[in-house]
């Protein structure tokens, strides 16, 4: 199974992938996770990749190979579409973070996610804000993806358990 996580620097994409990796390893899978950071910490796109199964070799995937794309921001969800395997699903938050070319008025933000791609919208940022902290958006997303994959991620106690639960519940009630 190949997962691609994408978001904007600071959204907690890498942390979410790490937590899910640990959960999958505890479930007995061989797991490899790959992150590329550096410049992307400064508000750029962050991509992390997670592969699991009986035996995993390369830690990264290529375009057309992701079973799921988990996107924390809408335009990043759209940007990542070429990574999707035919028949794969994009799980995304509708949150919009305007990139600098848009802020400078030099580009248009793509507000509409393409209808032709199988997708599940999770209002994770909104749900997290309702639960008290919008910064827990990533934990809501983690709860949702864990539910979709049918695994239980034991999240460390310092993270918001209610946010994690809200993600799973949203998947249950909206699918």
């Amino acid at each position: 199974m190949n997962l691609l996580f994408t978001g904007v620097g600071g959204q907690g994409t890498i942390l979410t992938t790490k937590l899910l990796s640990s959960a999958l390893a505890e479930s007995g899978y061989d797991v490899k996770m790959s992150e590329i950071h550096g410049m992307s910490q400064r508000g750029g796109t962050v991509l992390t990749q997670l592969k699991y199964g009986d035996k995993v070799y390369a830690p990264n995937i290529t375009e057309g190979e992701a079973d799921y794309i988990i996107a924390f921001e809408k335009s990043e969800a759209i940007r990542a579409i070429p990574w999707l395997k035919p028949g794969g699903t994009v799980v995304y938050d509708e949150r919009e973070i305007l990139p600098m070319p848009v802020l400078l008025g030099k580009a248009e933000y793509p507000h509409d996610f393409p209808q032709s791609v199988k997708s599940i919208l999770i209002p994770a940022y909104k749900l997290a804000a309702e639960l008290g902290s919008a910064r827990d958006q990533n934990i809501v997303m983690l709860g949702a993806i864990a539910k979709l994959l049918g695994i239980e991620a034991a999240i460390p106690s310092k993270f918001n358990a209610a946010a994690y639960k809200a993600g799973g519940t949203y998947i249950e009630t909206n699918s």
Partner: protein, 589 residues
């Protein structure tokens, strides 16, 4: 056995500790930074330190090795260039306690100015070379590297790539070795590299490399995986994992862990068994050329060399003639380039400098401030390597002068880069009375790589209090006249502009030091964010010229608004630009 998920960098740190390493030094650089950060967790057993630059890091580690301790120096690929001088001669001296130099290469230039393949250093500098392909190998191989270093009296180049450093996989860990340190003995014939000794050491190291080549034939770090399929592959490092993913089942592999010296006997055995092999290289054709050097021409080998960009399984599949199926092609989405963070003090400097763009030509350097190159600031035209921000202006100013171009040449670098090698360049600029204005953007930390301590911080990597070095006093120590040293708060636009204007008006050397800690440092968080009174906002967009990621403009309502109050630190820059007094501050709730 209990396994934990570790990155390659974390595994190298753990493996170094298990190997009994006692001294480790590095200069931060993606993707190598986390090695020393994790080694510092073992500070009860390992003296871990950030050095001012990679040359210093290697020399600290070499000193410990000659003294009898196992030692490590870590750096990114371009750091090896800065450290090449001691590395090439350490190749001759060999070691007492084992010495490993980690080179973290960056195929694909994810966070670097080039994608050089440092495997080429090993034969050139007479270093043994070991390449891991995943986290478990990072841990196992670094331990083997110390055994090899001491057994053969060779320095080991431990060559990683971004994908090895920053991938996490399951690792079985062990305990710290009880190896006792060796004692220091004076051996000038081995460690004082004057010509008479160096000539003899060159013979010794060539012999040691021959012995290691014999040993490599039976080393567990190299392995043949038999297969009766259509393909047979020679590879190393992360390339192995990509090949395992892409080549069909039954493919035979000769996977090298010791990549210098390459075991000729293993290559002979593999080619004899399989007739024709594919040699896969990410970067330079290092393995392919070595195998060719053994006398195998294109009858025996096909070289697949991926010189540019990072290798992945998909690129190998394309070589194998397999296509890719995409759900949908690339969509039209605006780029999201990395930007100066909300509240970044560099923004004030670049805003003020941009206002004088027609009067100056600027040279940048490597660090967060390199992000000032983008629109709308277009802060500089040239950026080459660490420290060059202060020396390229010396030559460039001569060129502009020769062409009658009266624009003033500026050089820009940060506090950590100043300590790294910028100071050397400053000394020359002052000594030559160059016609340049040099700016140190001091944000009190090595920011780009994620907040590492440097000579200007009060704490070191291990968290202990250390003497803090004053940049201003170093500058004045060159003999620069005190009135030519200007300091300014970069977020005070009036003061910043005045300093830049003086820098332009002066002839000879002027140095500007901007003083304001990185906005992401805990102690720099103001607890406030900007707020815009939409009644007062006249929609003039003056604030948007700050190019702050926290600010957005509502095109329909013609009003600016704070789009990300979490990130905003109320730095006050937009408020200074506002023409209608609409921007105030709010305490963060």
């Amino acid at each position: 056995m209990n396994k934990t998920i570790l990155s390659g960098d974390e595994s190298v740190a753990r493996g170094a500790w298990e190997a009994g390493v006692a001294v480790a030094a590095a200069y931060p650089g993606t993707p190598s930074t986390e090695i020393l950060e994790n080694i510092a967790r073992y500070k009860q057993d390992i003296y871990a330190t950030w050095a001012n630059n990679e040359k210093v890091a290697v020399e600290i580690a070499l000193g410990a090795s000659i003294g009898g301790l196992r030692a490590l120096a870590a750096m990114k690929h371009v750091g090896v260039n800065a450290a090449a001088d001691p590395i090439f001669t350490a190749g001759y001296t060999g070691v007492n306690g084992g010495l490993v130099i980690v080179s973290a290469d960056d195929p694909g230039c994810y966070s670097s100015q080039n994608e050089q393949d440092n495997r080429l250093y090993a034969p050139h500098a007479k270093l043994a070379m070991i390449e891991p392909s995943d986290s478990q190998e990072c841990l196992d191989y670094i331990k083997a590297a110390y055994e090899i270093s001491e057994k053969f009296d060779l320095v080991v180049l431990f060559r990683m790539t971004t994908r090895v450093c920053h991938s996490k996989s399951l690792v079985a860990t062990g305990e710290r070795s009880k190896t006792l340190p060796k004692s220091y003995e004076a051996k000038p014939e081995k460690y004082a590299m004057l010509p008479v000794n160096a000539k003899r050491r060159h013979i010794a190291v060539e012999n040691a490399l021959k012995e290691l080549a014999d040993y490599a034939y039976s080393s567990e770090l190299n392995r043949i995986e038999d297969g009766k399929g259509e393909f047979s592959v020679i590879c190393s490092g992360m390339t192995y994992q990509h090949c395992k993913e892409a080549f069909p089942e039954g493919t035979a592999f000769l996977k090298f862990g010791i990549t210098y010296p390459l075991s000729r006997k293993l290559v002979d055995k593999f080619i004899k068994a399989h007739g024709h092999v594919i040699v896969v290289d990410e970067g330079e054709p290092y393995l392919a050329n070595t195998v060719r050097g053994f006398g195998y021409d294109n009858t025996y080998i096909t070289a697949w060399t991926f010189t540019q960009g990072e290798l992945d399984a998909g690129r190998i599949r394309v070589k194998l003639g397999e296509g890719r199926t995409l759900s949908l092609p690339e969509q039209n989405v605006p780029a999201r380039p990395p930007v100066l963070c909300a509240g970044c003090p560099h923004r004030g400097f670049y805003y003020a400098m941009n206002k004088r763009k027609n009067k100056l030509v600027a040279v940048g350097d490597i660090g967060c401030y390199s992000l000032g190159v983008s629109a709308p600031f277009n802060g500089f035209d040239i950026a080459i390597c660490m420290g060059s921000g202060f020396s390229i202006p010396i030559g460039l100013s001569k060129a502009l002068e020769a062409q009658g171009d009266e624009r003033r040449v500026f050089g820009i670098l940060g506090d950590s880069t100043f300590f790294h090698s910028g100071y050397n360049s400053l000394v020359d600029a002052v000594h030559q009375n160059a016609n340049v204005c040099l700016a140190v953007l001091d944000n009190s930390i090595t920011a780009m790589t994620g907040h590492q301590e440097n000579a200007g911080t009060e704490l070191n990597l291990m968290g202990y209090e250390v003497p803090k070095i004053s940049i201003e006093r170093m500058i004045l120590a060159t003999g620069l006249s005190p009135e030519r040293l200007l300091t300014a708060d970069p977020l005070d636009l009036q003061a910043m502009t005045a300093a830049i204007d003086s820098g332009i008006a002066n002839t000879g050397v002027t140095v500007i030091v901007t003083k304001r800690p990185c906005a992401l440092l805990k102690e720099a968080r103001s607890g406030q964010h900007a707020s815009i009174d939409s009644e007062k906002c006249i929609g003039c967009k003056a604030c948007m010229k700050a190019a702050c990621p926290s600010l957005a403009f509502d095109a329909l309502g013609r009003k600016a608004y704070v789009a990300d109050s979490d990130a905003c630190n109320n730095c006050g820059l937009c408020a200074q630009l506002c023409k209608s007094g609409a921007i105030g501050a709010e305490v963060r709730v």
